[in-house]
Symmetry: C2
C-alpha cells in the first residue's frame, strides 16, 4: 500500500479469485468453468479478418449483441445491459442502487463478492443467515426496505429459490431494487427473467462464463426495466464506455446463434452432476442437492481443508472456503466424466489412507 | 433514470465518446484510431486453438503480459498494472488517489474524462486554464498539494511538456500522486517513464489503443512504484479481478514481440501528419504543432462546427468540441495518406462553397 491511497480503501478486504497455480497441470474443478469449448460458430467468427479490425474501437452501445439477446429473451434492447463479465454489473449495481442510506441485504453464505462491493461502496449492508439446511429463508427478505441481492441458484450451496418466492420478495420491496444473480440458472434453476415484464425493480444478472463456455471472454448481461438499464449505463459512461472489446462482442453474438449447442452442453453437465452425486454418496459424502454446475459436499471421514489439500497434491483443484460455517465442505465443479472419475479414484485413495 | 438510483449520481454528466454512426461508410478521422491493422504476430496468435480455450478464465494477474512489458521497459513486473483500456486505470486512479479531501488538478482543456471521474468520485478538483497559446503553464502544477493529472502530449491540443517540466511537477508534490497520461507519446512526445525509477509518486499511463493499433482490444497499462501498483490492484480486486479477457491478453503479448512493426507504423503516421500540416497551411488553416496522431486545426473561413458538419455530409468524420474555448477548432485524426487526401479534397470543395 502507498501513503497516497485515500483512507476509505486502506482497510478494504479484496475478493480472492479461485487459485490458478502454474506449477503443474491440474484437473481444474475449482472455478466453475465449463469443461466444454465454445461452439464452432464462435471459433469461426473470431477470424483473421475480425482480428485485423482491432485497430478500431468497439461499439460502446453493443447494439448487435443487445439485439441478439433481446431476440433470445423476447425483450427490447433497452432492457439489456452488457458488461465486462457479470462482476462488472454487480459492481455497477452496488454503486448505483446501494449506499450508506440505501442499505443492502444478502445471504451470509453466497458469492463472496457481494460483501466486497458492500465494503468498497460504503454500503450499510446486512448478511442474512441461511437456515440450518443451507436454504434461504425468504422471510428475511420480505419488506426489508433495502436493496436485495440474491444468487439464484445460490453459490456455493447450489440451492434454488422458486420463482414464486422471488416474486414475493420483489413485490414486498417496491421502493428498492431486487438483484437476482442467475449465473448458474441454466443448469436446472428457475429463471425469474419473465418477472421483469411485470416489475420495474427487478434486475436479473446473467453471465457467459458458465453455461456458455466463455469465462475467458468476460461477458455478462443484465435484463431489467428501461430505467434500471439507463442507470447502469450512466455508471458505465462515467467509468469505461468501451468496456467490451470487439472480439468478445463478436463471440457473444455468435454464441447466441449456437444456443442449441450450449443447452446440450448444459444437459451433459447435468447428467454428469447426477452421476457424480451418486458416486459421492457411494464414497460416504453428504452434499446439497445442487441445481448448478458444482456440488457442495462434505465427507464424514476427512475435513474440508485436508481433503482440498490432498486433492491438490494429487493434481486436482477444488474450492475450499475457510469460513467456519462451511469449512467442512468443498465446492466441486462438474468437469467431464473422465475428470470426475479421476476425482473419485483419487478420493477413494485419499479416504483409504486417512482411514488407516 | 429510475427512482432507485442513489442521489449522488442523479446529476452526473457522463462522458460522450466520439460518434460511431452506421448510416453510411465514413472516413473515420474522429477517435484517434490507428489506420493500420495489428501486426501479423497478433493475427497468428488469435488462433482457433486460442479461441477454443475461452471456456477457461483468464489469468487475473496477467503474469505473461506483465513480464513482456517489464522486459520492454526494463522494470519489474511489480511496477506494471494492466487494465481494460487505459480509461480503467484513470477511473481506478481517481478512486484510489483522489477524494473530497485529496483534491485534483488538471488542465481545463484536456481529455474530457478527467472531469467526469472527478464528478463521479466526489473529488474536489480544479481545472487549470491553459495559456493563450494552448500550452500548459507548469507553474499551475508546482506545490499544489493535490493529485495532478496531465495528458502528455495533451489532447486535443497535441502539445507536449518536456520531461524536465514533468520532473519539476513530480518533485514539488511529494505528498501527492502525479499521473501522466501518455496515450499519445509514441508519436513524438517525451516519455517520462524513466522518472518512475526515481519518484514513488509518479504514475505513467499508457494504452494499446493508438500506437499499437488495438483500440478494439481494450488494453492499457500503468508503470509506477510497487506501492502505487499495489493500490491499483486493491481497487481491481475489489471491483473486477478478471478485468482482461484471454484474447486481449494474448494479443497484447504478441504485440510486444512485434514492437518494430508498431514503431514503423508510428513513423509512417508522423510522416503523414507532417504532410497534413503542410496541406492544412496551404488551405489557410492554423493548427497547433502536434506531437500526436491528430491535428487540432481551425480555418479563418469556416467555423469549427460548420466545417465538422459539412465534412460529415461528405462522408468524413472529425471531432468537434462545443466548449466555447475551442469551438473554432476541429480535431483531425491522422489516417492513411489516401484518407487525408480525401479530407483535403473535400475541404477544398467546402471552402470554395463557403467563399462564394
Amino acid at each position: 500500500m502507498s501513503k497516497y491511497l485515500i483512507n476509505r480503501y486502506k482497510t478494504l478486504e479484496v475478493y480472492v479469485p479461485g487459485e490458478q497455480p502454474k506449477d503443474m497441470e491440474y484437473v481444474k474443478l475449482n472455478t466453475n468453468e465449463s469443461p466444454f469449448p465454445p461452439s464452432k460458430g464462435v471459433l469461426d467468427r473470431i477470424s483473421s479478418e475480425e482480428v485485423s479490425r482491432l485497430n478500431l474501437y468497439p461499439d460502446p452501445e453493443c447494439k448487435k449483441l443487445k439485439q441478439k439477446l433481446a431476440e433470445l429473451y423476447n425483450f427490447n434492447t433497452e432492457n439489456i445491459f452488457i458488461s465486462n463479465g457479470s462482476d462488472e454489473i454487480l459492481s455497477f449495481s452496488f454503486m448505483a442502487f446501494c449506499s450508506e442510506e440505501v442499505g443492502a441485504v444478502f445471504p451470509n453464505i453466497s458469492y463472496g463478492f457481494y460483501k466486497v462491493y458492500g465494503d468498497l461502496y460504503d454500503v450499510d449492508y446486512k448478511e442474512m443467515p441461511l437456515k440450518k439446511d443451507f436454504t434461504i429463508d425468504i422471510n428475511d427478505y420480505l419488506n426489508v426496505g433495502k436493496t436485495v441481492v440474491i444468487a439464484n441458484p445460490n453459490a456455493p450451496t447450489g440451492l434454488s429459490l422458486s420463482v414464486d418466492d422471488i416474486e414475493k420478495i420483489v413485490i414486498s420491496n417496491p421502493e428498492n431494487v431486487v438483484l437476482i444473480d442467475e449465473a448458474y440458472v441454466d443448469f436446472g434453476g428457475n429463471s425469474c427473467v419473465e418477472l421483469v415484464r411485470k416489475y420495474d425493480n427487478l434486475l436479473v444478472v446473467r453471465t457467459y462464463s458458465k453455461s456458455r463456455s466463455m469465462a475467458g471472454a468476460r461477458l455478462g448481461y443484465a435484463i431489467g426495466s428501461k430505467q434500471l438499464i439507463e442507470d447502469l449505463n450512466r455508471i458505465k459512461y462515467s467509468t469505461n464506455p468501451y468496456n467490451i472489446n470487439r472480439l468478445t462482442l463478436a463471440a457473444g453474438e455468435a454464441a447466441i446463434d449456437d444456443n442449441d449447442y450450449y443447452m446440450s452442453c448444459c444437459n451433459e453437465i447435468v447428467k454428469i452432476r447426477e452421476y457424480s452425486k451418486k458416486k459421492l454418496s457411494d464414497l460416504g459424502f453428504e452434499y446439497l442437492d445442487s441445481d448448478t454446475n458444482f456440488i457442495f459436499a462434505k465427507s464424514s471421514i476427512i475435513r474440508g481443508e485436508e481433503y482440498y489439500q490432498k486433492l491438490k497434491q494429487n493434481g486436482v483443484l477444488v474450492r475450499h472456503f475457510s469460513s467456519p460455517l462451511i469449512s467442512d465442505y468443498v465446492r466441486i465443479t462438474i468437469g467431464t466424466k473422465e475428470q470426475m472419475d479421476m476425482l473419485f479414484d483419487i478420493t477413494e485413495k485419499i479416504l483409504q489412507e486417512v482411514s488407516l
